[in-house]
């Protein structure tokens, strides 16, 4: 892009509030999915993120993710983050191919901010969830080659005053979940744990504990999900989204809670 000239578009060609369309016109190589191979499958080992959970509680929603990324049979990272703020009142959790997933998050974050600046007002939570669906759909060609990205989206709906959770499939299909959802290779184990103990009136603290416990349960069963690492003191990342917006729970609080949970069960028998 030429720095000294501003981007103006001919009538009928204006991309409106869509940042992806602006990017497609001005810097086409930056668009996610545009560099996908045309044929063949992804035989190379790419970095994969694993388990994320989203749990609705009385006054909002909790998102949490383990910290492991794998590449084939190896651990690629012990400290990867899988839960990000999409904007002030929503968060996105990623599982699948880490490269395209992080790129998707970055694009989604800019899109929400771009829309708000162009239109002078932010998107509704449903609007955000639909936008994300479109972006996942745009990644379908890459997904067919093995670079699957399926995000988990959750936010506080300011108009309705509740936390809401959305999941996606690889074609961009968007499904609103009633109370909780998980994603990634350990997701099924985490989901079963949550299902057994979730209640409608959980407090923030109870929901955080449930999220941590479900991730530990997933790590217990799934090789690609990282458990609590007491030696290096690495614990899951947790975020709370409620009337105060998106807040990351401090490392100290998570460490204290995780240790209390582990201590409460003799030799981890309950996990």
């Amino acid at each position: 892009m030429n720095e000294s000239s501003l981007p103006f578009f001919a009538r009928g060609m204006d991309p409106g509030p869509s940042f992806v369309d602006v990017l497609r016109r001005l810097a086409p190589h930056g668009v996610a999915g545009s560099g996908a191979p045309d044929h063949g499958s992804a035989l190379i080992d790419t970095v994969h993120g694993t388990t994320v959970v989203a749990i609705r509680f009385a006054s909002g929603v909790i998102m949490a993710g383990d910290r492991r990324a794998t590449s084939g049979m190896s651990i690629a990272s012990r400290r990867i983050e899988k839960v990000f703020a999409a904007d002030d009142f929503s968060g996105i959790g990623i599982a699948g191919a880490a490269g395209p997933a992080v790129e998707l998050v970055k694009l989604f974050q800019v899109q929400l901010e771009h829309y708000e600046k162009i239109e002078g007002e932010g998107l509704s939570l449903d609007g955000k969830a639909n936008q994300l669906g479109g972006m996942v759909r745009a990644n379908l060609p890459a997904a067919m080659q093995g670079l699957v990205v399926v995000p988990l989206f959750a936010g506080y709906d300011e108009r309705r005053g509740i936390g809401r959770v959305f999941s996606y499939d690889v074609t961009g299909g968007k499904y609103e979940e009633a109370d909780f959802q998980t994603n990634g290779s350990g997701g099924v184990h985490a989901r079963n744990w949550i299902k057994a103990t979730w209640r409608d009136d959980m407090t923030r603290d109870e929901a955080i504990d449930l999220a941590l416990r479900s991730l530990f349960a997933a790590a217990d069963e799934d090789a690609a999900t990282g458990g609590p690492d007491l030696v290096r003191r690495i614990f899951p990342t947790v975020a709370v989204i409620d009337t105060d917006g998106f807040t990351s729970v401090s490392d100290d609080e998570i460490a204290t809670r995780a240790e209390a949970l582990l201590g409460g069960r003799e030799e981890g028998a309950g996990l």
Partner: protein, 227 residues
């Protein structure tokens, strides 16, 4: 067959400049003031929805006076330019100087080549670490760029407003003082002070880590104006 009259280039430019100035003079003024805890922008604007001041990027604000549709078009182009640049490189690579240059180029081109010049004056303000690092770029309808220190005035009655603000602006001042000074400077000499309903106020908050742009309105603005 009729022959077109010869008009000297000086005359053409003068006519265009007069045209643009007249258009701008019909509108109301706007001031931007650098304060200890941020950059304050105050505009006379009775509309609650058609903004003159808005956010371009994390620490960059935009303001325009004159014809709404024209500065709105410039604003949107600026947001697009900044967002694409920040996405392609890094957020910290987006700066007001490059944006001001792009605006100047665009307005200069339009002034000389289009049927009619834009009837706008715009401001690109960038928040620095301290008030000394703040940047206020004031760009005219013909692409002239002025890099202003401390405060700047855009629009119709800018000379009177500039004089009035120049007499009262004694840095360092805080944000609330800057809002009151701005509102007082925008008030015509023989009239009652402008109230919150007639003003649009926004600021870039030095205390915020990322998106610094904030609007000040309603009861909050009333409280600040009452001092």
């Amino acid at each position: 067959m009729t022959m077109p009259f010869y008009v000297s280039p000086e005359q053409v430019m003068k006519d265009r400049a007069d045209y643009a100035r007249k258009g701008i003079a019909r509108g109301r003024s706007l001031v931007a003031i650098s304060a200890t805890d941020g950059i304050v922008i105050v505009a006379e604007n009775p509309s609650r929805t058609l903004y003159k001041i808005s956010e371009i990027y994390d620490r960059i604000a935009f303001a325009g006076v004159g014809k709404y549709n024209e500065f709105e078009m410039l604003r949107i182009a600026g947001v697009r330019q900044a967002d694409v640049k920040g996405y392609s490189f890094a957020r910290e690579d987006v700066n007001a100087r490059a944006l001001a240059n792009a605006y100047a180029q665009t307005l200069g081109q339009i002034f000389t080549h289009e049927m009619k010049p834009y009837e706008v004056e715009i401001l690109v303000a960038q928040l620095g670490e301290t008030p000394d690092d703040d940047e206020l770029f004031h760009i005219l309808y013909d692409g002239t760029v002025m890099d202003e220190e401390g405060f700047t005035v855009l629009g119709g009655l800018s000379e009177q407003v500039h004089e009035s603000l120049g007499a009262t602006y004694k840095p360092p001042i805080d944000r609330a003082t800057a809002v009151r000074l701005g509102a007082a400077a925008l008030t015509p000499a023989d009239q009652a002070p402008l109230n919150a309903g007639a003003l649009e106020v926004a600021y870039l908050d030095r205390a915020r880590a990322r998106r610094a742009f904030q609007r000040l309105k309603g009861p909050e603005l009333d409280a600040v104006l009452a001092g």
